[in-house]
């Protein structure tokens, strides 16, 4: 193969490409930044602690809310309530108001 003839026909080995001005300097700097160890800011170091605290506080808040709602929605059950009411009525029947006042004031009929 006659490379010389070929070169002349193809107008040499010039490339029709260029690069932006200062490209190689910027590229080298960019690579330096890419491989540099990343310094983590203080807030980034404290972030796991804050996250754990927030999760814990959230859990407590949700538990409290659930507990409060349950107490508000479900009526308090008291098996002895009818008995107590009946007993109160019996007592009330046995005393009228005046008697009760006398008893409370310590005077006998």
């Amino acid at each position: 193969m006659d490379e010389k003839v070929f070169d002349m026909e193809m107008r040499g080995r010039e490339l029709p490409f260029s690069v932006p001005e200062g490209y190689f300097e910027r590229f080298a700097e960019e690579m330096e930044r890419s491989i540099a160890p990343q310094k983590r800011p203080v807030w980034a170091l404290a972030r796991p602690i804050f996250t754990a605290a927030a999760v814990f506080a959230g859990l407590i808040a949700v538990s409290y809310l659930v507990f409060t709602l349950q107490r508000g929605i479900v009526p308090q059950t008291d098996d002895y309530m009818p008995v107590r009411q009946e007993y109160a009525e019996i007592i009330a029947d046995q005393f009228d108001v005046l008697q009760l006042e006398d008893i409370l004031s310590g005077e006998e009929e």
Partner: protein, 183 residues
């Protein structure tokens, strides 16, 4: 490029404390040649920039596994070549359903690139080079533009010198034929 300066960097690259500084020097020493190696294959500046970044990041991550069986520059060239071929394969896949030929897509992207300054003759020549299969185009570029020795190309591509010579000669014939047919 000064190979002795690259050889001097090798012990520093192997030392974890000095690695980052030595790698920066390695980038500064090799970036231009690697860039043009990639650019001749991908044609568009932005693509060449992406491939070059990937090349150096891969090299940085693999430095620990570099055993010094070959020169550091040959090793980098190999990574750049693999990254370039991977990039071209992915571009070809993206274009697989397009009715337009992949070579035409590449050519129009090259012409649309603001960092392309070719005239009609160079466009015709690039078109002829693009008509080669990718691996043959790679060999052609390394030999024709970079004037690399067949032995060097062989080390980078893992192909025998005889096969490379044949590949280059076929490439030249095809390009000559292509240019003749276009005229």
């Amino acid at each position: 490029m000064d190979n002795s300066r690259l050889d001097d960097l090798l012990p520093k690259l192997m030392d974890a404390r000095e690695r980052a500084g030595a790698f920066s020097s390695l980038v500064r020493l090799t970036q231009e040649r690697l860039y043009w190696h990639v650019r001749k294959m991908v044609l568009v500046h932005e693509d060449a920039n992406d491939v070059l970044q990937n090349t150096y990041m891969k090299a940085w991550r693999s430095l620990g596994s570099f055993r010094g069986e070959c020169q550091i520059y040959t090793w980098l060239y190999r990574i750049a070549t693999n990254e370039t071929l991977t990039f071209l394969a992915s571009q070809r896949m993206k274009n697989v359903s397009s009715p337009v030929d992949y070579e035409d897509v590449m050519l129009s992207r090259m012409e649309a690139d603001v960092y392309y300054e070719g005239e009609e003759m160079q466009r015709k020549f690039q078109r002829a080079v693009l008509s080669l299969p990718e691996k043959q185009r790679l060999v052609f570029n390394m030999r024709y533009y970079d004037e690399m020795k067949y032995e060097e190309i062989s080390e980078i591509t893992g192909t025998s010198v005889g096969a490379l010579k044949a590949s280059y000669h076929h490439a030249v014939r095809k390009i000559e034929q292509f240019v003749r047919d276009e005229d």
